[in-house]
Amino acid sequence: MESVTRKNILELEERFGDSSSSSDEETNTIGNVPIEWYKDLSHVGYTRSGTKLLKKHKNGLQPPVYVKKGVYYIYDEKNEEEFALSRKDLKKLVSIVRLQNPSGTTESGFVGEEVVFWTGQPRVEPVKSINERKRSFLPSRYEAAQVVRLVRTILRRNRMNDRKKVESDREDLSVWEEANADQSIRQLHRYLPPPKKPLPSHEESYRPPAEFLFEQKRNQRNEEEFLPESYNFLRHVPVYTSLIREHFERCLELYLAPRMRKTRRRIDPESLIPKLPSPESLRPFPDSKIASFGPHIGNVLSISLNSSGQWLACACKDGSVVLWEVATGMRTMTLNFRERLLQISASLSLPGETSVDWEHEGLAVLHVAWSSKENDLVLAVCIGHFVIVVNLANVLYPNEAEDSKWFGYSASEDSSSKWREWDDKIGNLGKIIVIEHSKKPQHVRWHQKGDYFVVMTKDAFGSSLIVHQLSRKRSQSPFSKSAKGVLTAEFHPFKSLFFIATKHHIRIYDLAQAKLVNKLVPGVSEISAMSVHPSGNHVLVGSVEGHLIWFDLDLSCRPYKRIRDHNYTVSSIVCHPTLALFADTSDDETVAVFHATVYEDLLQNPLIVPLKILKASCSTKGKSTWVMCWHPHLPWLFVSVNDGYVRLYADTS
C-alpha cells in the first residue's frame, strides 16, 4: 500500500494498481518501536537528520479508520499521517477483516460466490486441498482379496467340519464286534507272545513278613537288587520312582529283545548222569591197601613187576634197585648200581668227564623195567648216562644153572663202542651190559618179545629216542632229528607199530614200512602221559589239566571219551595186561581205577566204568610223583608213594 497524502488522493485513485512504489519519503526513523513509548513526549520520533518530529495532534487518540467528509482515512500514528482510502483499498480492508483474500477474488481466482473453508470453528476432519485419487473411486482389490480369503476360510471350515463328522462317524469303529466276521485280516507270521512279567512275591510288599527283611549291613553291600522294606502305615510308602524306568525297560524288551520259542523241559538232573553198571558187579578190582613194601632209602622213583608177577623191582633215589618177592613180602636183595657203576667205569676206563658228573648227581636210578617177555628175568636200569641190562635169572634162581654165562644172546663182534659187556664178579650178577648215552636216559619201554627196548633220553636241549636190540647189540635212533617235545614212546603189543607222544599229538609209525600211519589229536593243552591198551586198538592219554582221554583207533583220531577224574596233571596211566582194568594217577594224590571192557565187535563202543578213587594219606609235603604198576594176572595194583613205601592195593571183598 502506498502512503497517500491528502493532496494526492485523486492522483492515487487514477494510478490504481501501481503498488511497486515504496515509501522512500518516510520521515520518522524510530523503526519498529512501539509508538506508546512516545505517548507522553512532545515528539513522536526523529527525522533522518536527527531532528525531533514534533507531535501535530495534541489530542492524542485517533481511531484507526475514520470518515472525514465522506472519505475514509486511515491514520498512521508513527508518521502522524492520514491516508485517504480509496474504494478499492476499503474493499481490500473489508475482505481482510472478513478473513478473505484481500484482492476479493475466490481461491481459484474466479470472482464469484465464495467457498468458505475456514469458518473459524475447529473441525473434526482436516481441510485438505489434495484431490481424491482414482483408486478411491474404484472397488478395492485388497478387500476383494480379503473376501476371497474369508470365503475360502469358511469353505475350508465347512469341509473340515464335514471331515470331522466323517471321522467321528469312523470313531465308532469297533473291533471284535462281529465274532470272526473278518477272517481275511492277515496276522503276524508265527507271532510269539512276549513272556509275562513275574508276579510280585512277599518281599515287594509294603509290610513284608519280618523274615524277609535284611539287616542294615546287607543293604550297603548290593545296591542292585531289590531290598524289601517295611512301613508301619500305607501313607508312609514313598513314591517308587523306578517304576517309570521299569516300565520303560519292559517297553524296550517288548520291541528290542529277540524272541524265540523255547521248550523248557523239566529235566531231572539225575537223569543226566549216565547209567553205568555198578562197580560191585565188576569186581574184582583193587579197592583197599593190603600190604606195603618198604621202607626204602630215599624215594622210590620207579617200580616194575616181572612177567610172572613174582618179583617187584623198586628203583631208589640212592642208586640201588631193591627186589621184593611179592608173594612173601620179603626183600630178596638190593643191587647197588651206583657202586657197581663206579667200578665199571674204573675198569672200563670210561671217559673221565662223565665220571665226574656222577659224583655230583648222586646217581639215582631213574627207571627200572623188567623185560616183558614170558619167563625172562632181564632187567633194564636207567642210571646216570647209562642203561644197564642185567639178567637176574642166575641170582634169583641159583639152583638152575643152565644160563651160566650170558643169557642166550649172542655176543656179536661188531658192537658199537657204546655197548660194553662186563662180568660182574663181585656181585655175582654174571655178565651185564652197559650202554652209554650222550644224554641221560629217562625211561625204558620193552618190546613185547623182550629183544628190543626203547630208551627216552633227555637233556636240557631236548629229548631223543634210541631203540636198542639186545640180541644183536645194536642201537639205532629212528628219528634222526631230536624231537624236542617227545614225552614218551611205546611199542604196539603185537604189531610193528610205534607210538610217540609229543606235547600235543600222538604219532603212530609203522616200523616195518618206516612211515607215519596215524596222528591222534587229543585237543588238550599239553599231554603228560600215554599208555597203549593191551588190545593195541586203544590209546590212553593223560593231560596237564587232569583229563584222561581215551582214543579208539578204529573209530577216529579224535578222542572217544574224555574223563575229568583229576584236578592236576595226570602223571601216569597203566593198563592191566590181562584184566579189563586200568588206573591213572595224578599230582592231586589220588589214583582212579577204571574198568574198561573192549569189544572185538567194531560196532560196539568200549565200556568204561570208573570203579574206585584211591586216596593214600601221604605225610610228605611238596610235589609228589606217584608211580604204579599192575600185577600181570591178579587185580593187584602197586603204587609207590614218595614216602619210601610201595603199597599194594587189592580186592578185599
Binding site: M160, R170, L173, V175, W176, E177, N180, I185, Q187, L188, H189, R190, Y191, L192, K196, K197, L199, P200, S201, H202, S205, Y206, R207, P209, A210, E211, F212, E215, K217, P228, E229, F233, L234, R235, V237, V239, Y240, L243, E246, H247, C251, L252, L254, Y255, A257, P258, R259, I267, P269, L272, I273, P274, L276, S278, P279, R562, A592, I608, P610, L611
Partner: protein, 505 residues
C-alpha cells in the same frame, strides 16, 4: 544248483538295518512301526553272518512293507518337508493350512490284526494298563502332552468303571511299587500296577519317544477294549463324564453318565445310585464280599484307589472334603484310618480298621477279624496273594493263620515277630558278622561231607558223574546250582522265621 543265500535261514531272516533300508524309513520311524505293528526281532535258528545283529523275519518286514500304515508314514514325512519348506519361505498361511491338513492314521485295524480275538487282547492287557496308569500319573513333558495324559486318565477311568460295574477285582496287593490289582475278565486275569500318587518328574535317561509310540498303540487298544466291554454291557461308548461332579468331590465312578447303546430306546440312565443298583440286580456284580458296607475313608488314604477297590467289591465309600462334610454318619459301618489315633469321638456301633484290612480280606476272600487291624495296632504282615506255597518248605505264619481262620474260625493271631522289631534288630545287629559265617557253615553242612563215610550209592553217583558228557555236565551243574540257590533262599527264610519266633518268645 542252489546258490548261497537263496534258501533257508539266510532268506528267512533279515537284519534290522537291511529291513530299514528296504522300508525306506529312518531308524526312529522303523522303531515306531515295529512297536505299532508288534513286530519283534527273532533268534534265527541257524547262526547267520554277523552274530551281533538283530534279525527280523523277512515275512514280517514284507508284511510291514505292504501295510497302509507305511504309506501314511511316508506321507507324513513328505508333509513335514512341505511344512519346513513353507516355514523357510515364511508362507505363514500355507504353513497354517498344512498344519491343519496333516495326514492322520488310525490304529483300530492294527489292533484287530494283532489281536484277532478279544481274549488275545485281554491276555496282552497288563502291559498296556501298566503304561497307561503310569502315564495317567505323570506330569506332562515336552513329548507327552497334557492332552495325552488326560486321555490316558479317561481311558483308565473307563476301564475302572467297567471293573467297578462288574466287580471284576480278584486280588489286590499293596506293594512298595504301587497297588497291584488283578482283575478277571472272561477268565483272563491281567495284573497291573496303579501308583499311589503322581510322579513328580520323569527320569532323564528314559527315551520318551519310545514310551510315546507304545502309548499311541496302547491308547487305541484300551479304547477298543473299553468299547467292547461297554457295548457288551449295553452301554454307549464313550460314556459321558461329568467333570463338575468330580470337582465337587464325588467319586469318579458316580460322575459317569451311561447311555444305553441303542439310541431308539432313548433311556438315559444317570449312573450313581439307580444305575448301580440296576447292575447289582442284574447279577453282573460277581464280587459281594463288602456288600452292604459303607466305608468312611480318612483323609490320609488314597481315596481314588480305595474307592475303586471298595466299590468293585460291592461296598460303598465316602470321604470328607473341606467343602463337603459328611452329614449322614448313621449309615457308615466302617471307619478306615491310616494313622495311629482315631480323630473325633469313637463310636461303639461301627468298626474301625486300617486300610490293609480291606486288601487282606479281598485276598483271603473272607472278612478277617477286625481286631487285628484296629487303628494304631501293629499290623500283621501284608502277604502277596500271587505266591503259591504248596511246594515250598517255607510258609509265612500269617498264611497259616488265614487258612486256619477260614476253616475253623480261629481268630487269635499272636503277633510273633513284627511287633517288637527293635529287640530282634538288636539281636541281629550283634550277630551281624557271625550270621554270615553261620550261613556258610549251614550251607556246607547241607552238602554231603566228603570226609565222613559216604554211602555206596552217593559214591557210585559221584563216580558216574566222571563219565558225563561235557554238555550234560554243564546242564547238570546249571540245574543243581539253581536248585541250590533256591534252596538257600528258602532255608534262610525258614531259619530266620525260627530265630525270630524264639527271640519273641
Amino acid at each position: 544248483m542252489i546258490r548261497k543265500g537263496s534258501k533257508g535261514a539266510a532268506k528267512a531272516y533279515i537284519s534290522a538295518s537291511k529291513a530299514r533300508r528296504k522300508l525306506q524309513v529312518s531308524l526312529a520311524t522303523f522303531q515306531k512301526l515295529c512297536i505299532l505293528k508288534g513286530i519283534h526281532p527273532r533268534v534265527p535258528g541257524k547262526k547267520l553272518k554277523g552274530s551281533q545283529k538283530t534279525f527280523y523275519l523277512t515275512k514280517d518286514i514284507k508284511f510291514l512293507a505292504h501295510d497302509p500304515l507305511i504309506r501314511k508314514i511316508w506321507e507324513l514325512r513328505a508333509h513335514r518337508r512341505k511344512i519346513k519348506k513353507a516355514k523357510a519361505k515364511k508362507e505363514t498361511s500355507k504353513v497354517k493350512s498344512l498344519l491343519d491338513n496333516s495326514p492322520s492314521y488310525r490304529l483300530e485295524r492294527i489292533v484287530l490284526e494283532r489281536y484277532g480275538k478279544f481274549q488275545d487282547a485281554l491276555s496282552d492287557l497288563d502291559d498296556a494298563l501298566n503304561l497307561l496308569f503310569m502315564v495317567a500319573n505323570l506330569t506332562c513333558t515336552s513329548l507327552i502332552s497334557s492332552d495325552k495324559i488326560a486321555n490316558c486318565r479317561r481311558l483308565c477311568r473307563e476301564f475302572q468303571k467297567y471293573v467297578v460295574m462288574t466287580g471284576a477285582v480278584r486280588k489286590v496287593f499293596a506293594s512298595v511299587k504301587g497297588l497291584y490289582v488283578q482283575v478277571e475278565i472272561d477268565g483272563i486275569r491281567p495284573v497291573f500296577i496303579i501308583p499311589y500318587r503322581p510322579f513328580q518328574r520323569m527320569p532323564e535317561d528314559v527315551d520318551q519317544r519310545i514310551i510315546n509310540s507304545f502309548l499311541e498303540f496302547y491308547e487305541c487298544m484300551l479304547s477298543c477294549v473299553n468299547r467292547h466291554l461297554f457295548h457288551r454291557l449295553g452301554y454307549a461308548y464313550p460314556p459321558k463324564f461329568e467333570e463338575s461332579l468330580e470337582e465337587r468331590g464325588l467319586s469318579i465312578f458316580d460322575a459317569f453318565i451311561l447311555e444305553s447303546k441303542k439310541k431308539d430306546e432313548a433311556q438315559m440312565m444317570v449312573d450313581g445310585s439307580e444305575g448301580f443298583s440296576n447292575d447289582t440286580e442284574k447279577g453282573d456284580h460277581s464280587n459281594t464280599l463288602l456288600k452292604g458296607m459303607k466305608f468312611f475313608l480318612g483323609r490320609e488314604i488314597p481315596v481314588d484307589l480305595f474307592d475303586f477297590i471298595i466299590r468293585s467289591c460291592g461296598g460303598e465309600a465316602i470321604w470328607e472334603l473341606p467343602s463337603m462334610p459328611v452329614t449322614d454318619t448313621s449309615s457308615i459301618t466302617h471307619y478306615v484310618y491310616d494313622r495311629p489315633d482315631i480323630p473325633g469321638e469313637r463310636r461303639l456301633d461301627v468298626e474301625y480298621v486300617q486300610p490293609q484290612w480291606i486288601l487282606d480280606s479281598i485276598n483271603a476272600q473272607v472278612l478277617l477279624p477286625v481286631s487285628l487291624y484296629l487303628p494304631g495296632v501293629s499290623l500283621p504282615p501284608h502277604l502277596s496273594p500271587f505266591v503259591n506255597h504248596e511246594n515250598s518248605s517255607y510258609r509265612p505264619h500269617f498264611q497259616d493263620f488265614i487258612s486256619e481262620y477260614k476253616t475253623s474260625g480261629v481268630n487269635t493271631y499272636t503277633e510273633r515277630v513284627v511287633g517288637d522289631k527293635s529287640s530282634t534288630q538288636v539281636v541281629a545287629e550283634n550277630n551281624k558278622n557271625e550270621e554270615e559265617e553261620e550261613e556258610e557253615r549251614r550251607q556246607r553242612a547241607l552238602v554231603p561231607n566228603d570226609k565222613s563215610e559216604p554211602s555206596s550209592e552217593s559214591a557210585n553217583r559221584k563216580l558216574a558223574k566222571l563219565m558225563m558228557r561235557r554238555k550234560d555236565r554243564h546242564l547238570y551243574e546249571k540245574i543243581t546250582k539253581s536248585q541250590k540257590e533256591k534252596e538257600k533262599k528258602v532255608n534262610r527264610l525258614v531259619r530266620r522265621q525260627k530265630e525270630l519266633m524264639q527271640s519273641s518268645e
